[in-house]
Amino acid sequence: MNIDEFMQQLSSSKGVSNISKIRKNTVKLDLTKEESLDFFVSIKSEFEHCSLISAIDNQPDFELVYHFSCMNQSIVVDDSNCAVMLEAHIYLKREAPSVDSIANIWFGADWHEREAFDLMGIYFIGHPDLRRVLLPEGFAGHPLRKDYVYEIHEEEW
């Protein structure tokens, strides 16, 4: 399957908007929070590796960026052997940000979600073991949020 055909195929799925090609091997799209789990289940066969889940504090709202990569060459870019990537954005509200967990689909997403919960305070519904991963238990707040204030002794330059 060529990457353009794949984009055609994506446009018919539910909850997907703003499909664009940002690099020659990368498809970017926006997802609604409700349809996300169904969409992720449908692309599992092509994208068998979850590269990254990053959470961004857009003030006031949150944005989740998923990166998936295709390793088995089921989607190709023209005639090169370039690996295709998919970038999915999900926008979340500031109050109680939560989204469906994909840790049961890709095991590699497990700790990425825990990290997003730890540092950004986003709740993943259905995650098997959602607790802090990097910071100690009992740490107050989520430090990667823009409104997290902490004490620095030296003056800022």
Binding site: E48, S69, C82, A83, L119, L134, L135
Partner: protein, 364 residues
């Protein structure tokens, strides 16, 4: 003996850094495991938001202490994509040489750290002796032993010094001889094979699902290398092969991961030689380097440990708005209960050592 939990770490010879592995053992057999991270969480991502783009190379250098250049390169590569900077061709060649030298040093560090895990201390010192050669080589252009800060946004810090090529060639020749010598001590040794064969097995499908990339994935027979499959710098013009293991004895276990890394070192030697052959003259730093950036960009590169990836969001100021690091070891370690289960207690160092842990990048 009843089942019991054993906590290994953060100070434990097995850990190769700072993390805790809690294992549940039944006698000597592992029943369950629970890794715990965060003892080295330095909040690099938050600190990066307070620094300017070009200042962050200090932090990326210290991200992974065993292979700092690859991480700095990953960062600068992403920021160049974000700022749309064109890197001169000679700078790309120099970068490739530095990256491969760093990969050699990193794999040698791993091999040296892996041998004491199997109880072979002499092996560690042999590999570290060879690593010293490459550290000296990397010190020549950059002036530093471990954290180079040599790759800058838009190119490299300075051109290679005079006589660098000859010195490199001499050291590479010596290194190749030594690798051949070591084959009797390690991969042809009966006890070494007893400890590594059929230990820590996972299939390629499992590995992809676990998020395991890099040499660990190639040890399962998957021919996937970002230097070929999402190519960057000048890797497509260079003549080299992806090192992987075919199905057979020593496949997708600790021994295959060891052999993949040894083969990768030999490939790196090939790449460096080819780079010197094809390197053109020219500038080493882009003429126009912006300070501010807007938008978002991500790039992934082949780190010594797997798929390194950075995602940078700029808001038009001179500092990144959000900077996200993907560490290959983070996901690899998350799956360790799956590939530890069923093996013996003595296999824990053999397995965890073979996947090449670097806690600096994992804890960020």
């Amino acid at each position: 003996m009843a089942e019991m939990w054993i906590s290994m770490g953060p100070q434990h010879p097995m850990t190769h850094g700072l993390w805790t592995l809690k294992v549940k053992v039944d006698g000597e057999t592992i029943v369950d495991a629970d890794p715990e991270l965060g003892y080295l969480h330095r909040s690099v991502e938050k600190m990066g938001e307070r620094r300017k783009y070009f200042m962050n190379t200090t932090l990326t250098d210290r991200l992974c202490y065993a292979s700092s250049t690859t991480w700095t390169h990953c960062y600068t590569h992403t920021v160049e994509e974000l700022m749309e900077v064109e890197v001169p061709v000679r700078a790309q060649y120099i970068r490739t040489i530095m990256l491969e030298l760093q990969r050699l040093a990193s794999h040698l560090m791993w091999a040296g750290a892996y041998m004491p895990d199997l109880g072979h201390i002499t092996g560690a010192l042999y590999f570290w002796r060879d690593r010293e050669l490459f550290l000296n080589l990397l010190e020549l252009p950059s002036g530093s032993r471990l954290l180079y800060n040599f790759i800058r946004i838009g190119g490299v810090k300075r051109d290679l010094p005079n006589g660098f090529e000859e010195k490199t060639e001499r050291i590479l020749k010596l290194f190749e001889q030594r690798l051949d010598e070591y084959s009797d001590l390690f991969e042809n040794s009966k006890i070494f094979r007893m400890r590594t064969d059929d230990v820590g097995k996972f299939t390629a499908e499992q590995a992809k699902n676990f998020g395991i990339t890099g040499p660990n994935l190639r040890g399962c027979g998957t021919k996937f290398d970002l230097r070929k499959h999402d190519t960057y710098e000048i890797y497509e013009e260079i003549d080299w092969d992806i090192s992987t293991r075919e199905a057979g004895p020593g496949y997708s276990d600790c021994f295959s991961r060891y052999m993949v890394r040894i083969d990768e070192m030999k490939e790196s030697v090939r790449i460096i030689r080819d780079c010197f052959k094809k390197m053109p003259a020219g500038a080493t730093l882009a003429s126009r380097i912006p300070v501010r950036a807007h938008g978002e960009a991500f790039r992934r590169t082949e780190d010594s440990r797997g798929e390194a990836m950075m995602y940078v969001v700029g808001d038009g100021s001179d500092r990144p708005y959000r900077w996200k690091i993907k560490s290959p070891m983070f996901t690899t370690m998350s799956a360790c209960p799956h590939y530890l289960k069923g093996y013996k207690l003595a296999d824990i160092p053999a397995i965890m050592g073979s996947i090449d842990i670097c806690i600096g990048e994992t804890d960020k």
